[in-house]
Every structure is written in structure tokens, then in C-alpha cells.
């Protein structure tokens, strides 16, 4: 088979989660799930708990958006700042929220730390809901900002 992408596939997907399917097929998060549904690093190459309230992630190097913008720890910071604006940004519900008092520290171009006010061992999995977008997206449609004037329920 050819190494470059080839061919066209037509899909009919009636799932009420189609919006999420499109998102996961076009956008990346720090973490994704493998074929078996287990969390695995995606836009991050690794992570670790420095203590039970500090989650440090290594942002994968060399990751580039289609428009050429590099995905760095600043990209993570922007996504974090945007998602934390909202009370209930994720359509499934507030169970995917990080604590509202969480702080993000950019340590260097490819290292970021989440400082949580209380232990949340499920925070790693919740990063699946924090989509990493380029500057052009934030200055354009964003998640609901342009159409609805709000990101509530549109992440």
C-alpha cells in the first residue's frame, strides 16, 4: 500500500456523539484512548504526579498544527485558560471539570504543571476533554464563542 494518504471514505454516523467523533479525529488533546479504551499520551509524551496535587506533563516536541503553528506548553496554557472560564464547558457534564481553582504553570516550552487545590487522581483522564487548538481557532470560531456567545456546553 502507498505510504501517503490515499482514497476517500464516505461515512454515515448517526451517533449523537458525532460532534465528539469529529473533534477527536481532527483535534488532539494531551491524552487520548487506545483501541482498548485505555488512556495513553497524545499531545504529551509523558506525565507524572510530583505530589498528590501537582500534575506535570511533557508536551510532545515537534507537534505542529496544519497551519504550521507549533504545539507547545503555551498552547496548553491557552486551552486551560479558555476552558476554565466556564462553569460547565463540556457537553457530557461537569464531571469532566478540573477544579475551578486549579492553576497552570508553564515551566518551559514543553513542560506544564497543573496545580490542583485538592487531589484529583482522575485529572489525567479529564485532560481528554481539554482540546488543544491553534491561535487561529481562538481568534475565530472558538468553542461556541462566535455562534452562541458562550463556551458553556460547547467544549
Amino acid at each position: 500500500m502507498s505510504e501517503r494518504p490515499t482514497g476517500t471514505v464516505n461515512v454515515v454516523d448517526p451517533s449523537p456523539l458525532n460532534w465528539l467523533c469529529i473533534t477527536y479525529n481532527t483535534v488532539e488533546e494531551l491524552i487520548r484512548t487506545d483501541k482498548d479504551g485505555n488512556n495513553e499520551p497524545a499531545a504529551m509524551s509523558d506525565f507524572r504526579w510530583l505530589d498528590d496535587k501537582t500534575l506535570e506533563v511533557d508536551v510532545r516536541e515537534g507537534n505542529v498544527f496544519p497551519d504550521g503553528e507549533e504545539l507547545t506548553a503555551e498552547t496548553v496554557r491557552r486551552a486551560f485558560d479558555e476552558v476554565q472560564k466556564w462553569t460547565s464547558p463540556h457537553p457530557p457534564g461537569t464531571q469532566f471539570n478540573l477544579h475551578p481553582d486549579t492553576k497552570l504553570e508553564v515551566v518551559d516550552d514543553h513542560t506544564a504543571r497543573f496545580h490542583l487545590p485538592e487531589t484529583d487522581g482522575l485529572a489525567v483522564g479529564k485532560l481528554r476533554a481539554m482540546h488543544l487548538m491553534n491561535t487561529r481557532f481562538w481568534e475565530g470560531p472558538s468553542f461556541g464563542y462566535e455562534r452562541q456567545g458562550s463556551g458553556e456546553g460547547h467544549w
Binding site: M1, R4, P5, T6, G7, T8, V9, N10, V11, V12, D13, P14, S15, P16, L17, N18, W19, L20, C21, I22, Y24, N25, T26, T33, D34, K35, D36, G37, N38, N39, W49, D52, R60, G62, N63, V64, F65, P66, T87, S88, H90, P91, P92, G93, T94, Q95, T119, D120, G121, L122, G125, R128, R147, Q148, E152, G153, H154
Partner: protein, 357 residues
Amino acid sequence: MLSEGYSSLDTEMAVIVREPFAATWLQHEDRTPLVRLAANTNYWDKDRGPHLSEVVFRNDLEYEDALELVCSTEGEVDIVTMVPPEAAKKVENSEHAKLVAHDGIYSVAGIINRDTEGLPPLSDKRARKAMNLAIDRGRIVREAMFGHASPLAGLTPDSALPEENPLSPYAHDPDEAARLWNEAGGENTRPIRIAAFEENGRVARAVARDLEASLGVDTEVVVHPADAELRVRRRLAEKKLPHEWDVFIFGHGAQSADGVALELHRAFVGKTGELRAGAVLPEFEALMGELFSKTDPTEQAEVSARIDRFVHDEALALFLAAPQSLYAVNDHVDFTPYRVTFELADTRMGEEHWSLR
């Protein structure tokens, strides 16, 4: 990357509890007739993909037409998701498509209304266990789900577990079911009210049959049409009005095998659960609190297993089955199913595919 169209949502908030604040969103889909995705050749994971140049989501077709097209033609539809189990044989026997069946992380279970009146108190574990013992899960899998499902022990489907499930499904034991039901005060009660959305109507009727046969009670089944779904979901989530059902047959999934308790058990039983129908259970909340306190994945898995056992042992739901995800896929498309999402980066095609000719 997205090159044309969109698949979006209009949302209405439903508040579950205010302290701590918990909400879910009722969703109206908004899609353009076509959504095109173009290969991102900058994607870092070259081993994974993409292998396809373009994916087109065709929202301009009725589902029945799409299923017919993928089976009987080439060039129009290559993949159809959410094939209903009653259509599986049609796909398997078709000229141009194959059935891809995969175990997702999705459970069909009955939400038990522990606040209901006029029956043995469903807040009584004996009554809930009786209902679980009344169910012939094997027959529901065979007949209501056409064999494309696995019986549930707790709420966690076997597909989400790295090893053999330590829990076993409740046995089908009508005699013990009747004994427990009557011990809990079940003689001469009103009919058991069972509700469902259309997708689970067949399962609801099978559950009704089993409850009637085992417990000696009448049942009433209400299948809500699609245009009632948002209203019903709001009433479920907000819990401001009494429910008009005793058991609601509901399908719910998780977005990760590592977070099943966050999505399934919390939803069905937890204080912040959009599906909870009954009092908050301090012991369950303590278990969830313990889960959140663990950062080590092994410790999380251990607590998750205890949560599933608690929900199972207390019979906090009517455990039914985990249906497979079924796809109709063109014979020249090598589709890799994922348990929790619909991913296409890994998908390849053979040289005989219509788009390569």
C-alpha cells in the same frame, strides 16, 4: 483536519445538584449535509496514520438508505455506524459490506427508582435483588439483542477490564426472586412501570416479560419517542418531579476504560449522577471520594473494582447487558474499531477500493 462543514451542538443545561454544582447538557445536533476531513500529513504519529486522504461524513442520507447503499453498492457509502443488531445478518449476507462487531464500553441497565411508592420499597435491597434475579440475561442477549451483547454483572462491562471480571451476573432464579420480592412486601402490588427510549424498547419488553413471569406482577411498558427524549432526560437529571416509572432501561457509555466509574457508576448512583433516582448513598460517595484521592492507576483500578462490586451487591441498578458496537464496512476498507470512540486515523483501504480505481 476539518476542511468543510461542521458537526455541532445546541445545548440546554440541566442542573443535577447545586452543592457541589453539577450539571449535564441536553443536546440538539446541528450538522451540515457534508462534513469533510482531509488528511493532516503533519500528524506526528506516523505509525498510526492517517492513511486516508479524505473522509466525508454524509449527513444527507436517511439511515435506512445508507445501510442499503453500503450493502448493495460501491462509491456511495463505505462505513455505517450503529448498525442495529436486527440488521446484522443483512450486512453479513450483503454483496459489498462486512459486519464489524466490537465490544465497546457501553452498558444497558435499568435505573431503579428507589423513591417509588406503591411497590415493595425499591429502597429495600431485597426488592432490587429480586428484580435482578428475575431477569434471564442470556435470553435478552439472544433474543432482544440478537446475540450481539454480553450479560452484565455490575455496571462495568467486561471489555473495560484488563482481566477476567471478578463479579458474575446475577443468576436467573425466579423462585428466589419471588421469595425476596414477597419478603420485601411484594404481594398484591400495582404493576411495575418500565420506561425506555426507542432504542431499548425491545429490551424493555423482554424485562417486563421476565418480571411478570418471575415475580407474578403485572407490568406497564412506556417507550418514549425520539421527540420526547430531551424532556425526559431533563426530568431525569433535575429530579424536581416524581418519576413516572419504576425502572428506566437506559444505555450509557464511558469515554475511557480508565474512567468507567466516573461516567457509569457516578451517573447511575452518584450524588452528581444525571441518572440517579433515589437518595444519595454516603457509602457510595465515600468510595468515589477514595477513587479521586488515588493518583496511582493500579490503586484507581482497585477502588473502581470495589465500586462496581458495591453497586452489584447492593443491586443499585437492574443489570442487563453490554451491547456490541456494530459497523457495516465496505469490503475493501480495513476499518479498525475503537472501544470508546469512532476513530479513522488507522483505517486503510485495499487497492480495489472504488476511490482508488
